[in-house]
C-alpha cells in the first residue's frame, strides 16, 4: 500500500513544471513527442523511442521499447533513461509506477487535438528538456503555420465542406473517424467539418450512416508501406485506393463519391499532432478545397 500511495503522489506530480536540462539520456514515448524532440534539435539526447515514433526516419535507428500503451518496465529501464517524456496514456499505469519508483524522471505530456493543444505540447516538451528558448522558436513557427491554416479556413465562403475520414476499408466495411480523434482535429484545423460527429473514436459505421452523412470529400491516410496501404485502403496507390473507395456502393452514392473527391495524405503528418501539424492543416485544406 505504501507503494501505491507513492505512485499516487508521483502521478499528481506533472501538474508542477518539471524541467530536466541535465538529463542526458532521454526516452521519448509517443510519435508526436519524438517529433518535437527532433524539431527542437535535441535528438542527440535521445536514447530510445516507442513503436509509434517513426518520424523523422532517423528515429527508427533508436532502440524501440515497444508499444506506448503496453510497456515493459524492465525493457524501458534496460535502455538506461534518466528522463522519460511521454504522451499521456503511456502505460500500463503499473509499469509507469514502477519506473517512477526506480527514480527515473517521468514527464507526461497532455494530448489535445486542436491548435492550442499542439502548441502546449511543444511548450511542455521544451520545458521538460530544459530548452525554453528553442521551445519558443518552435512555438512561434508552429503558431505561424497554424495561423496560415486558420487564414485559409476563414477565407472559405459558404458552408465548410464535410469530410469523412476513412481509417480503413477492409472488406468494404468503413472504419470512420468520429469525434475526439486526431482525424476530427485536423479536419477542423483545415477549415472543414467532420462528417461523422456523432461517433466517438474510430468505429465501423453502417452504409446507411455513410449515405446519411453525405460527405463532400473522403479522406484517407497513406501508411508509407505498400502492404499496409493495400490492407487498409484497398490499394497502395492513390488511384487504387480511390477505385476501392468508389467500389463501395454506399461511398459511391455520396457527393464525394459522385465527384470522385478522394484525397490522401501521409498518415503521420496528418494525424501526428506534432511540429508539422500547421503544414498538414494547410496541405489538407488545399486538398479539400482544390476543386472549388
Amino acid at each position: 500500500m505504501k507503494r501505491l500511495a507513492l505512485a499516487l503522489i508521483l502521478l499528481a506530480g506533472p501538474a508542477l513544471a518539471d524541467s530536466h536540462p541535465e538529463a542526458r539520456r532521454v526516452l521519448a514515448l509517443g510519435g508526436s513527442v519524438t517529433e518535437i524532440v527532433y524539431a527542437l534539435g535535441e535528438e542527440s539526447r535521445l536514447i530510445g523511442r516507442d513503436t509509434t515514433s517513426n518520424w523523422p526516419p532517423e528515429a527508427n535507428a533508436l532502440p524501440d521499447v515497444g508499444y506506448v500503451r503496453a510497456l515493459s518496465p524492465e525493457g524501458v529501464l534496460s535502455v538506461g533513461p534518466d528522463l522519460i517524456v511521454a504522451e499521456d496514456g503511456a502505460g500500463p499505469p503499473e509499469a509507469v509506477a514502477v519506473l517512477k519508483s526506480a527514480g527515473v524522471a517521468f514527464v507526461s505530456v497532455e494530448e489535445r487535438f486542436d491548435a492550442e493543444g499542439v502548441l502546449d505540447k511543444v511548450d511542455a516538451v521544451a520545458e521538460a528538456l530544459g530548452v525554453p528558448d528553442k521551445g519558443r522558436v518552435l512555438h512561434e513557427k508552429l503558431a505561424a503555420d497554424l495561423q496560415a491554416a486558420l487564414g485559409r479556413a476563414q477565407a472559405v465562403t459558404g458552408e465548410p465542406k464535410k469530410v469523412l475520414f476513412v481509417l480503413s476499408l477492409q472488406g468494404g466495411r468503413v472504419m470512420a473517424g468520429g469525434a475526439d480523434t486526431a482525424a476530427d482535429g485536423i479536419i477542423r484545423l483545415a477549415g472543414a467539418r467532420n462528417a461523422m460527429p456523432g461517433v466517438q473514436g474510430y468505429k465501423p459505421v453502417t452504409d446507411e450512416a455513410v449515405i446519411e452523412a453525405a460527405p463532400d470529400v473522403i479522406l484517407m491516410m497513406r501508411r508509407g508501406d505498400a502492404q499496409a496501404d493495400a490492407d487498409a485502403n484497398g490499394g497502395s496507390s492513390h488511384t487504387a485506393a480511390k477505385q476501392a473507395v468508389l467500389a463501395v456502393p454506399a461511398l459511391a452514392q455520396t457527393p464525394a463519391g459522385r465527384d470522385g473527391a478522394v484525397v490522401m495524405m501521409d498518415g503521420l503528418k496528418l494525424l501526428g499532432f506534432g511540429p508539422r501539424t500547421g503544414e498538414a492543416a494547410v496541405e489538407l485544406h488545399d486538398l479539400i478545397y482544390a476543386g472549388s
Binding site: 518496465p73 524501458v76 534496460s78 500500463p92 519508483s101 526506480a102
Partner: protein
C-alpha cells in the same frame, strides 16, 4: 478407497507408472526451483542476480536499479508466472478429468471467455458501481468478477453437456464454442462502449501478458489461485473414480455431485483469477496435463500436482522468451504460448482422430 476392488484402482494397477510419476514430480519441483532462479536473473536489463547476491553477502547496499528490477519487477513477476502457470495447467487437468476428455481446456470451451467478460465488465463499468462496493472489493474487484464469469460459464457448460449422468464430448465442445462466442460477443458489446484508449488496452489485454505485474496485483490475484491450487489435490480420488463413468463412481462410494461442484469451483477460481491478472494466455491448460499423461499415466493424484509444477515451469519459460526476444520491447506472452501450444494441440487432435467420437 477400501471399497474399490483392485482392478478399479489405476494407481495400484500400474505401480511402475506411479513410481515414475513420483520421480517426475520430484524432478519437476527441482526444475521449477532452477527455472525460477534463472528467471529472476534473466531479463532485458543488465541487472544480474549474481551481483545483487554478492552485494548482499558483502553487506553492501543494493544499487537502486538492481533493487527495483529484482524486487519490484522480476520477483512479483516470477511469482505471478508460477501462480498463473500452475492455475492454468491445473484447471486444464481438472476439466479434462471432469469431462473425461483430453480436449477440455478452459480456453477452448469458453471458460476463459466467461472470465474475460467478468473482468472486462469490472474494468469498463467498475466506475459506475456504488462506492461501498468498490471499497469493499478494492483490488479484488476484477479477480472476483472474473471468477464469477468463469464459474457461471463452467456451470452452464456442464449442465448443457451432461444428460442423465453422461457427458457428451461433441456436445461439450460445441456448447463450449457457442458459449465462448456468446461471451466474446457480450465482451464486444462492452468494448463498443469503450473509447479508443480503453479499446487499445483491451486488445493488448486479450493477448495476455505478465508485463504489468506488481505487488498489489499479485496480492489481489494470488489468494484466489492459491485457494484453488491447494484444494485441487483433494479432487484426485473423485476424478480418478469419475474416469470409470459417473454411475460406476457412485457405486464405489464417491459423492459424484460434490466432486463435480468442487471441480467446477476449482476451475472457475484458478482460471478466473489467472485471466483477471494476466489476460488471455492459452494452451498451457491443454498441453501440460497431456504431456504428463503421456509421461506418467492418468492417475490424478500425481497428475494434478505435476500439472501445477510443469505449468509453472512452462509459463516461466514462455515469459522469459516474451520479455527478451524483442527486448527492450516485449512480446505478449499469450502469443508465445499459442505459437508453442497451437501446433501441439493439432498434433493431439491428429493422434486421437480415431478415438474421439466426433
Amino acid at each position: 478407497m477400501a471399497a474399490l476392488s483392485p482392478e478399479l484402482r489405476p494407481q495400484r494397477l500400474d505401480g511402475d507408472r506411479s513410481h515414475r510419476a513420483r520421480r517426475l514430480g520430484l524432478f519437476l519441483a527441482l526444475l521449477l526451483a532452477v527455472v525460477a532462479v534463472i528467471s529472476l536473473g534473466w531479463g532485458a536489463s543488465g541487472t544480474s542476480l549474481m551481483r545483487a547476491v554478492s552485494d548482499l553477502l558483502a553487506g553492501r547496499e543494493l544499487v537502486m536499479q538492481d533493487r527495483v528490477v529484482l524486487l519490484d519487477i522480476r520477483l512479483p513477476r516470477v511469482l505471478m508466472g508460477i501462480f498463473v502457470g500452475a492455475s492454468l495447467a491445473v484447471s486444464g487437468a481438472v476439466m479434462q478429468g471432469l469431462f473425461r476428455n483430453p480436449l477440455a481446456d478452459p480456453g477452448i470451451v469458453g471458460v476463459s471467455s466467461g472470465a474475460s467478460l467478468g473482468a472486462i465488465l469490472a474494468i469498463v463499468l467498475g466506475g459506475a458501481l456504488p462506492g461501498w462496493v468498490a471499497a469493499f472489493f478494492g483490488w479484488y474487484l476484477v479477480p472476483v468478477a472474473a471468477f464469477i464469469g468463469g464459474w457461471l460459464t463452467t456451470m452452464a457448460l456442464y449442465r448443457i453437456a451432461t444428460r442423465r449422468g453422461r457427458t457428451s464430448v461433441a456436445t461439450m465442445l460445441l456448447a463450449g464454442i457457442a458459449l465462448g462466442a456468446i461471451m466474446a460477443a457480450l465482451s464486444g458489446l462492452v468494448i463498443l462502449r469503450a473509447n479508443d484508449r480503453e479499446l487499445r488496452d483491451l486488445t493488448f489485454w486479450g493477448l495476455g501478458s505478465l508485463a504489468g505485474t506488481n505487488w498489489p496485483k499479485l496480492l489481489a490475484g494470488a489468494p484466489i489461485m492459491a485457494l484453488a491450487l491447494i484444494s485441487a489435490p483433494w479432487l484426485a480420488r473423485g476424478l480418478n473414480a469419475l474416469a470409470l463413468g459417473e454411475a460406476a463412481a457412485g457405486h464405489v462410494g464417491i459423492r459424484v455431485q460434490k466432486v463435480k461442484n468442487r471441480a467446477i469451483l476449482t476451475v472457475a477460481g484458478a482460471t478466473g483469477a489467472a485471466v483477471a491478472v494476466s489476460g488471455g494466455i492459452g494452451f498451457v491448460g491443454i498441453v501440460v496435463p497431456h504431456l504428463l499423461r503421456l509421461a506418467s499415466g492418468p492417475d490424478h493424484r500425481w497428475l494434478l500436482v505435476n500439472s501445477a509444477l510443469l505449468g509453472a515451469v512452462t509459463l516461466l519459460l514462455a515469459d522469459m522468451v516474451s520479455r527478451t526476444v524483442i527486448a527492450p520491447a516485449e512480446l505478449p506472452i499469450g502469443i508465445v504460448t499459442a505459437i508453442m501450444g497451437g501446433p501441439f494441440f493439432l498434433w493431439i487432435l491428429l493422434r486421437n482422430r480415431g478415438v474421439l467420437d466426433l
